[in-house]
Symmetry: C2
Subunit: 145 residues, 2 copies
DNA sequence: TTGACTTTGTTGCAATCGCAACGATAATGG
DNA sequence: CCATTATCGTTGCGATTGCAACAAAGTCAA
């Protein structure tokens, strides 16, 4: 037949790898707090930035704006974040973690870093691998698109 | 706030990277032949194996069996593959490329490999990166799951 | 053979998703 | 100041997804 081997095809391998790696940690926050991937990203992002708009997260967290909007609504409904109109610009909605949200993140963040460390130490060239991933992320931003 | 940086979190980076890399090539076969990712994987897999069951592809191509089933139905509807009951085991459905399907794959396969080469040559440690990806794929099969 | 159990592929259904349309607000420019 | 244009967040809708239920086919033991 053809000489093309799907299982050795880089885009396929990366998709499978990302799925597996992501699934490993997402299982944790899903069964602990019922978070989806989008909700986890919103919370994690709010942890660093304090108070941000939906648009900001939409851009930086690689999520569609409807995803962010719906994730934020659900997080607010469950008491993890607050939504407030930005007084300076009425179009913006400022998101911020509640105490409950901060407690959740304080529980999850160390586990996230431990999970990451677990993977990287199991890998031989962990540092070089990270460097390659970073380089590809910057590269793809330009030539592929 | 917290000291957790989502954009430096490996599962997140891998998800973004896989999405970008995959999107780059999937745009090609989508606009040329209207294929989804699942359909592309089925076709690519049939290219190597000749005639396989739905179950085989479900296992090896990391697709849900309903995905494979629906992808196969659509591919058959468009004349790219044939579906036939396996005479030895009536439960199995043997999938195989038609001439039209083979022509499509013969068109896409070189482009896929060129795309992959383009990425790897742009990357500094291409060979080591591939090795890391392979190692992680094997690793994750055991400890993460 | 029969009857219980397993495996395979399809389908129904609810949940989710992306996209576009929309209302609301802000910025621009005449 | 008003009219036009752009931006932001939400929502409706069609398409897609995963999950579980299911029918069909096979296996195996009694």
């Amino acid at each position: 037949m053809s000489c093309f081997d799907l299982e050795e095809f880089l885009p396929y391998q990366l998709a499978v790898l990302a799925d597996q790696v992501s699934r490993g940690f997402s299982a944790l926050y899903r069964q602990r707090y019922g978070l989806s991937v989008a909700e986890w990203r919103v919370v994690a992002h709010l942890g660093q930035s304090g108070m941000v708009s939906v648009r900001e997260i939409h851009r930086r967290a690689m999520l569609g704006k409807s995803q962010v909007s719906r994730a934020a609504s659900k997080l607010e409904r469950n008491g993890y974040i607050t939504k407030a109109a930005n007084p300076a610009d009425g179009r913006l909605v400022s998101l911020a973690l509640t105490e409950r949200g901060k407690a959740m993140l304080a529980d999850l963040a160390p586990k996230a870093m431990a999970y990451e460390r677990e993977i990287l130490t199991a890998l031989d060239g962990g540092t070089e691998f990270r460097a390659s991933v970073r380089q590809l992320l910057e590269l793809e931003g330009q030539f592929g698109r």
